[in-house]
Symmetry: C2
Subunit: 353 residues, 2 copies
DNA sequence: CTGAAAGCGCTAACAA
DNA sequence: TTGTTAGCGCTTTCAG
């Protein structure tokens, strides 16, 4: 009945072990200046009593909060969840981030924030004041939102910018989007394609430009000149992918292959191709970015650039935790993690006409 | 430079408004006994200073933690994320739970816990000691794990059991799994099927039995006797679905329709059917449970029972928050939320032979 | 190496 | 209707 019953505190441990609070504190925080014998005794009592330090009290005492805050775009995330189109970005982030946090006695709290709204600043300031996280993980498109990075920087909260290519406060953890797009295009060029189209992502995301750049670079390297008509504008959505694909296929000399900057847009390309009675990959090759689950279940399964989302989140968490532990400087060096090109059935040599 | 710079506390607000800490506390907690004029003045200062109460300090003061803890099965969740097969259970839970929490100034923390391990008790006790959440949301199969429900009950922590059919401590929030299976079977019977097979879920989940029961009930109501050979054992996995489907199709008088207790098993049924050159739905109708994204992208898209996961999580969060606010008793009544049968292309009338 | 004291930001209990 | 007094459980000083 007593609501506070059974709450083992540091006091109980201290009393039971016959030492001061301070000594127990030192032991659980793995600090020096405790004799091994005492340390062992305390640890024994801790285990026996099942003592676990109260996180809130710990924070109050002026130490770390053992909390990492992961900020995701509210509208996009909720829309993705509502639609249930199989986007597993958040899941992959949790897979990497939460598991890594758990390894270090940390917790990762996911929070949804409007990136465009006028009150971003207030929203984030409120979250920081309420939670006092030891670090923040920014995901696209927040990673390159100057209002957010500025606030975090001013507050002195260490933070990671996932998928960011820019410099600035915090540190970037990304894959090489430029190179990824380049590899995708190279794959198609190597198959013999000469007319390779590209569908861009939303301008909200800095990586959209990087991918376009990589694509262009591959074409130039292959001695293919600039043909702006081969670049369709998209915003990652299925609808935008449809529109862009239609435009590309309506060209006098349409592409025989398309690199789309998202899975949804690649699926849209598949869709349009089917409407036009174009076979994939015989008449049209398609490569997607992201590699969310749905592309594996597409017909045909899509060749895709696989983003290391879990790895990026884990890496970000690790760096933040290290910094909070004082083990390492929260330096500004960016971390570039490897990506994969997963070749499936949506790419092949072009027909010989 | 100063790490604690810019942290507005209740003191600053009190000083600025020319009132005591207590009065500010009363205002931010919306408690009575504050003159409207004073209240307005304080709220004004709060807004102007951008003050947000520190969660940790609040807990320390002996009040709520404004935290809800959602417990998911570690192995299953991580495996699902790793495989990336499009299971969006956690996403739906977050959609419902996090958004509802945010409405009330709460936060939902997701934690992964081994349900089978000997140390479940320790794991959960540790999480409770560290976090002191105002409530816990249990998801299957934790919802019916007596060790977990027992511990939570003993500790006096209010908790919701999502997808639970049992009585006991906490309260259940579920859909009517029995009825759902019944509706699925009825749909097939109404189409004219007389040989309807069923593939069960894992025995770890209490709802597996409920679904089987519903299926049997529909058959009996249709005047069809018990044929145990029509019931295949599964555990929700694709592999188990394959095995069960093979066994069903190998019967002398094989079913013309199958209700599978999970999407993965339904997809497996599709798979096996294709191997046998059976057309779906012409030769075999298939209904799945869960309605994860992948079933919509299957060929053909699957008719499915859609679980109200987001709604259940939101409802659970709301009840827990209400209880923590003292607005309502954390009563034991179970909440049953409506499900949907989404008819797609995998079900049709049986062939007339 | 160990302990005692003070305080983190807030809220409960009590006074006024 | 308001303000004052204690703590909550822990960690940081600073003494021994």
């Amino acid at each position: 009945m007593n609501p506070r019953r059974r709450t083992v505190t540091i006091k109980h441990v201290a009393a039971e072990a016959g030492v001061s609070l301070q000594t127990v504190s030192r032991v659980i925080n793995n600090e020096p200046n405790v004799r091994d014998a005492v340390k062992a005794r305390v640890q024994d009592v801790v285990a026996r009593l099942g003592y676990v330090p109260n996180l809130a009290a710990r924070r109050m005492g002026g130490s770390r909060s053992f909390l990492l805050l992961a900020l995701n775009d509210r509208d996009r995330t909720i829309e993705g969840w509502r639609l249930g189109e199989g986007d597993d970005w958040v899941d992959q982030m949790m897979l990497g981030g939460m598991v890594k946090c758990a390894e270090h006695g940390y917790r990762m709290l996911v929070e949804l924030v409007d990136t465009h709204a006028a009150h971003v600043e207030r929203e984030i300031a409120a979250a920081l004041s309420a939670l006092h996280p030891d670090g923040v993980i920014l995901t696209p498109p927040h990673s390159d939102n100057p209002v957010i990075t500025g606030l975090l920087g001013a507050r002195g909260v260490p933070f990671a910018r996932i998928g960011s290519v820019a410099d600035g406060a915090g540190f970037a953890v990304a894959m090489d989007d430029r190179r990824a797009a380049e590899v995708a295009a190279e794959h198609l060029l190597a198959l013999g394609h000469r007319r390779v189209g590209f569908i861009t992502g939303s301008d909200d995301y800095a990586l959209s430009a990087a991918r376009l750049d990589g694509y262009l670079r591959a074409l130039h390297a292959a001695g293919l000149g600039d043909d702006p008509s081969l670049v369709g504008r998209g915003d990652f959505s299925f609808a935008s992918g449809r529109a862009a694909t239609k435009a590309l296929l309506a060209l006098d000399d349409p592409p025989t292959a398309i690199v789309a900057s998202s899975d949804q847009m690649a699926l849209a390309a598949l869709h349009v191709a089917r409407e036009r009675a174009l076979r994939v990959p015989e008449d049209l090759s398609v490569i997607s970015f992201d590699d969310t689950p749905v592309v594996r279940f597409g017909v045909p399964p899509l060749t895709a650039i696989k983003q290391p989302i879990a790895a990026m989140a884990a890496h970000a968490a690790e760096r933040l935790i290290r910094a909070a532990s004082g083990e390492a400087e929260p330096g500004p060096e960016r971390s570039i993690l490897p990506f994969d090109l997963v070749v499936r059935a949506s790419t092949a040599e072009p027909r010989e006409d």
